[in-house]
């Protein structure tokens, strides 16, 4: 036994958990984004639906996905624990407070931004993740002529669908899958869901613009050359580029695919 406190009972230890889970969630976003970019392909959802099947059935990815759900919960839970202590550290608030003079708005409102992201996450998971696993999803059959590369898409009734298959028959490649692509475009017919998604991505951008670099500061990362690089990546890639591309998906669906 040490005469010192245990690591995770300390304020720095709790922040270490926030930092590591935050970095893991940021990396997940990159993977999620790269996969979802297939929504921009005009192939009737062939690539996207195959990708969706792969992500939900390939064992190592499934294992990581459970780790991911746990990470979300731990990140949210520890934010509550840390915020509770931080509130207790100042029982009487200032009557006159000028936070804008010394810090950025998003750095002071990570909890608020995180709450918006959590609400978004619940909506997002029930829209697609729950629907894909247990809900009513349409089914689709793609027939691609191997020589010409032309693909024909045919909606199939639920009765004809047994499981995801991909095979070659008579010079054509046939794929039968759950049509998440159609489900996505169906959901984004409603303008208020599109607006909500875009706003949530704005919140995500603000959250990550502070969170990404903050995670590295918590780890004690303070290299004179690479720390500015981390700050730049945090702001430009995680704060702007990634949320922008994610926000483009519902907008693309609403304005291009559905019109």
């Amino acid at each position: 036994m040490s005469r010192f406190n245990q690591l995770f009972s300390s304020t720095i230890g709790k922040k270490l958990i926030m930092s590591l889970t935050g970095i893991f969630l940021s990396l997940f976003l990159v993977v999620h984004l790269v996969g979802n970019l297939q929504l921009f392909k005009s192939d009737g959802g062939l690539a996207f639906n195959e990708y969706a099947y792969f992500m939900t059935h390939f064992a190592p990815i499934k294992a990581i996905s459970y780790l991911l759900y746990a990470t979300f919960i731990v990140h949210a839970l520890y934010s509550l624990i840390i915020t509770y202590r931080n509130r207790k550290a100042r029982p009487i608030a200032y009557a006159s407070y000028n936070g804008a003079a010394n810090s950025t708005w998003n750095s002071r409102n990570m909890g608020l931004l995180g709450t918006i992201i959590l609400i978004f996450l619940v909506t997002h998971m029930s829209n697609f993740w729950y629907q894909y696993h247990w809900g009513d999803v349409p089914y689709v059959e793609y027939t691609t002529n191997i020589q010409t590369g032309e693909t024909s898409v045919r909606d199939i009734p639920a009765a004809e669908f047994h499981d995801f298959v991909k095979y070659i028959e008579d010079g054509s490649e046939i794929m039968i899958a759950k049509d998440l692509y159609k489900e996505v475009n169906f959901s984004f017919q409603s303008w208020y869901l599109v607006v909500f998604y875009v706003l949530a991505m704005v919140a995500l951008g603000f959250h990550l613009a502070h969170g990404f670099k903050s995670a590295f500061q918590t780890l004690g990362f303070d290299h004179n050359r690479y720390a500015p690089l981390i700050r730049a990546i945090g702001f430009w890639i995680f704060g702007i580029l990634i949320p922008l591309l994610f926000a483009a998906m519902p907008l693309y669906s609403f304005f291009v695919v559905n019109s």
């Binding site: 010192f4 690591l7 304020t11 720095i12 029982p91 009557a95």
Partner: protein, 252 residues
């Protein structure tokens, strides 16, 4: 110039405080903020009332004794100065100035605008020192230290322990103070022997005092009167996590 002051008045630690409004008349813009309060106190005393109690000592920005949360910022609207170095020319005639004590559970109000900052002393006592046997005066440059390292340690050592970092932080975190106190020894050869124990003991004491966590807003660095940088917090995180995770040294 004439000013309206809204000042926090509180009899002692156990009573509830509230704001009182005072008029500060014929204030010279060349006065320091504390001199302005002296003028107001002079008038209050002449009326036979209890003067406003506030901390001050050297009045030249060295001691770290003066505090005051002025119009929403510790040490007032200017950067890298203490309240005693703040002049009334930073305000305009007819302005209302709200003056509050540092707000933190770890800094209880003693009276009016003065808070008890002995939590900082206890953190220092936990590990902010090096153990050296007394004896003959050692030769000045007997331990060679590179100039960059000496400068780095000195930059951290400029911390005057005023508590503005805690006051500015939305979490009342003391990480900048503790960071500076840990970093100043971490880079010097004299600090190596107790390096691992120091980081752990000081963080333990910091947590025990009830300071919040660092959420890296950077408010502390922006409000620090002597310019202690966020690098010190990164160093503290590194020292602490290094001591906890990589190798925890135990003394018996």
């Amino acid at each position: 110039m004439n000013l309206t002051l809204k000042v926090w008045r509180q009899k002692n630690e156990n009573t509830r405080g509230k704001f009182h409004t005072y008029e500060a008349k014929d204030i010279s813009e060349d006065m320091s903020f504390l001199e302005m309060l002296d003028v107001v106190n002079d008038e209050i005393t002449r009326k036979g009332e209890d003067p406003i109690y506030f901390d001050h000592d050297c009045r030249e920005g060295i001691c770290g004794m003066c505090s005051l949360y002025i119009n929403g910022r510790p040490h007032g609207p200017k950067e890298q100065i203490t309240t005693c170095q703040l002049h009334m020319r930073s305000f305009h005639d007819g302005q209302t100035i709200v003056i509050e004590p540092w707000r933190a559970a770890a800094f209880p109000v003693l009276k009016d605008l003065a808070v008890d900052r002995s939590a900082f002393d206890r953190i220092q006592q936990a590990g902010g020192y090096i153990s050296v046997n007394t004896g003959g005066t050692p030769d000045a440059n007997i331990i060679p230290i590179p100039k960059v390292k000496a400068d780095e340690a000195f930059n951290s050592a400029t911390c005057i322990g005023c508590g503005a970092c805690v006051a500015a932080c939305k979490n009342s975190s003391a990480m900048l103070f503790v960071g500076a106190k840990v970093a100043q020894f971490a880079v010097l050869p004299q600090g190596q022997a107790e390096r691992k124990e120091r980081a752990q003991a000081m963080v333990d004491q910091m947590d025990k005092e009830g300071f919040g966590s660092c959420t890296n807003t950077g408010a502390c660095e922006a409000e620090c009167p002597v310019g202690i940088s966020l690098s010190n917090i990164a160093t503290l995180n590194r020292e602490y996590l290094g001591a906890k995770i990589i190798k925890e040294v135990e003394v018996h």
